[in-house]
């Protein structure tokens, strides 16, 4: 009786291993598909571990709990109905059960590990894995993308929350105002960093089509300062020497004449 118990334990162990193996193969397939998809939509690749882990936990548990001796009987027809009968009657001790156990032990020799691990479907799955891995390499090398999910999300956030305002850049530039030179506030930039964002999705600007600068004549109402002098920033608290003042004055005069 002990022998049949051990043998049944071995069969069960092999079934568990085969289920783990199949779940791992399927899990890797899920991982590769997620990896490829995430590459195409520019989501960080390491997030594809999440569907892999979920698959392993859900289906691995389901498969291991669903282990039945009929799965062995299906691949070894000689054991059909015998194996589960022997398993269900392990505690019984009579000559018929003993004879059945002997018969089952003999037929168990026909169980080959390859019957469970080397099935056609597993081979197909391994093939699929190869194809997916190749596609991942191709997509990564040519930087193929369907759309940039992250940037899209970010730009949407920028549109909604981070529009440049008078508060954070010091000056609010209204797109509708053509003549900005008449606005005094242009000289009051303040010390804040100007955040300029180009909305690639909603805008129609194409950075690749840059043109040469055009010279434009502006009719300006701006009144030049009569006297030009240089001052340092208040934080430096130093006076600029007179000779340096001259240099600055000369420089400005030259560039305004040109």
């Amino acid at each position: 009786m002990k022998v049949i118990e051990n043998a049944l334990g071995e069969v069960r162990k092999m079934l568990v291993l085969s289920k783990v193996f199949i779940t791992m193969i399927d899990g890797v397939l899920v991982f590769l598909v997620a990896f490829l998809l995430f590459l195409l939509i520019k989501i960080p690749w390491y997030l594809s571990v999440i569907p892999f882990v979920i698959y392993i936990l859900v289906y691995g548990r389901k498969r291991i709990l669903g282990i039945r001796y009929t799965q062995v009987e299906r691949v070894v027809p000689e054991l059909n109905e015998k194996l589960r009968t022997a398993a269900d009657n392990v505690g019984k001790d009579n000559e018929v059960v003993e004879a059945l156990n002997k018969e089952v032990l003999m037929d168990m020799k026909k169980i080959r590990t390859s019957l469970f691990f080397g099935s056609k479907s597993n081979m197909k799955k391994l093939g699929c894995m190869g194809v997916l891995a190749f596609m991942v390499i191709l997509v990564a090398s040519f930087d193929v993308e369907i759309f940039d999910f992250v940037t899209l999300g970010k730009s949407r956030l920028d549109d909604e929350n981070f529009l440049p305002t008078q508060k954070n850049i010091g000056v609010f530039i209204d797109e509708g105002d053509d003549d900005i030179y008449g606005d005094e506030s242009i000289i009051e930039y303040g010390n804040d960093e100007i955040l300029i964002g180009l909305n690639t999705v909603e805008g129609n600007r194409d950075l690749s089509q840059r043109k040469e600068l055009e010279k434009k004549n502006f009719a300006s109402s701006y009144q030049e300062e009569k006297e030009i002098y240089a001052t340092s920033d208040s934080s430096f608290s130093e006076n600029i020497a007179k000779e340096n003042q001259e240099v600055v004055k000369k420089y400005f005069n030259q560039i305004t004449q040109g």
């Binding site: 059909n80 109905e81 015998k82 009968t85 000559e95 018929v96 059945l100 018969e103």
Partner: protein
């Protein structure tokens, strides 16, 4: 008898049966199963389908006491059970019990539906209790004790069909079918040319039968197959559109036991699904009462069982 020897004995019985009965393999198998599981069986079929011949031949192959009761409407219970006779010994008269034909190991109750209900119930009581009570005395019947009854389904006049409760005493209702053309040709050749009866020797002794009965009960069955058998029986109580009255738990016990018996006869050490499906027909066909709707549509109990075993 050892387990390894069972196929040889069963094979010898089959060979003996085949010397006399042509075809009817399933009938022979089911009769033998009834013997192996220590149960009674009723054979139903049209006249001339070797019902009586099969039982008689089987009885010759078993080294047991055989008796035959030819049932008629005027048959009395005492004709079956026995009666007290006044015996005159050495000048003194005393009542002595004269055993009836029921005191045998194999009783062939031929055309059981011709006997009156009173006589039928006397026999059926003996079948159930395996004892006979006459007057104040109770007599135990010898073991093994099998009743193999036959009945004709087409003759209705002068017959008293067994009520469902009484047919329940029989584990199997075995149906004899018409032979195939080739089998009939063989039958014609055999019985139109040879006059002598086939020479048969008893194959199974009383102890062998007891051993077979012990072994049959030891045949293991897988839990899912046990559940399958119970599902078949319990579904007879749920299928209200086809069945008015379903089978009782006695049918569940009978089906499992019958499947074990069949497995032993087939030389297997475990019950298979096929055993259950095959034995569901003789075990259930007399235990279900079809609904009016099913009868109106000419559906037979076997059709219903076929649906239930799918």
């Amino acid at each position: 008898m050892k387990l390894d020897e069972v196929p040889n004995y069963i094979d010898a019985v089959f060979k003996g049966m085949k010397k006399v009965v042509i075809g009817q393999d399933e009938v022979i198998k089911q009769m033998l199963t009834a013997i192996v599981v220590d149960a009674h069986a009723i054979l139903e079929g049209y006249p001339g389908l070797a019902k009586t011949l099969s039982v008689k031949t089987l009885a010759r192959l078993l080294d047991l006491r055989f008796s035959r009761i030819q049932n008629t409407p005027d048959l009395m219970p005492s004709d079956i059970l026995g009666t007290y006779l006044i015996e005159d010994t050495k000048g003194t008269r005393e009542l002595k019990f004269q055993q009836g034909p029921v005191f045998a190991n194999i009783v062939l109750a031929d055309e059981i539906n011709r006997a009156t209900p009173k006589t039928q119930s006397a026999l059926l009581e003996a079948m159930q209790e395996r004892q006979v009570t006459v007057g104040k005395e109770t007599y135990k019947l010898d073991r093994p004790f099998f009743v193999l009854a036959t009945q004709n389904p087409i003759e209705q006049e002068g017959t008293y069909p067994l009520p469902e409760a009484q047919t329940d005493r029989f584990l199997f209702k075995i149906k004899t079918e018409y032979p195939s053309f080739d089998e009939e040709m063989e039958i014609v050749e055999k019985y139109s040319e040879v006059l002598e009866e086939a020479q048969l020797k008893p194959v199974l002794k009383r102890e062998d039968i007891a051993d077979l009965q012990n072994l049959a009960r030891k045949i293991p069955i897988a839990n899912d197959l046990k559940k399958f058998a119970l599902d078949i029986v319990t579904s007879t109580r749920k299928k209200k559109d086809l069945i008015e009255y379903g089978a009782s738990p006695r049918a569940s016990i009978g089906l499992i036991l019958a499947a074990k018996g069949r497995a032993l006869i087939e030389g297997r050490k475990h019950v298979s699904r096929e055993d259950i499906v095959k034995m569901a027909f003789p075990v259930l066909r007399h235990r279900i009462v079809l609904s009016f709707e099913a009868e109106r549509n000419n559906i037979t109990p076997d059709d219903v069982i076929k649906i239930l075993t799918k």
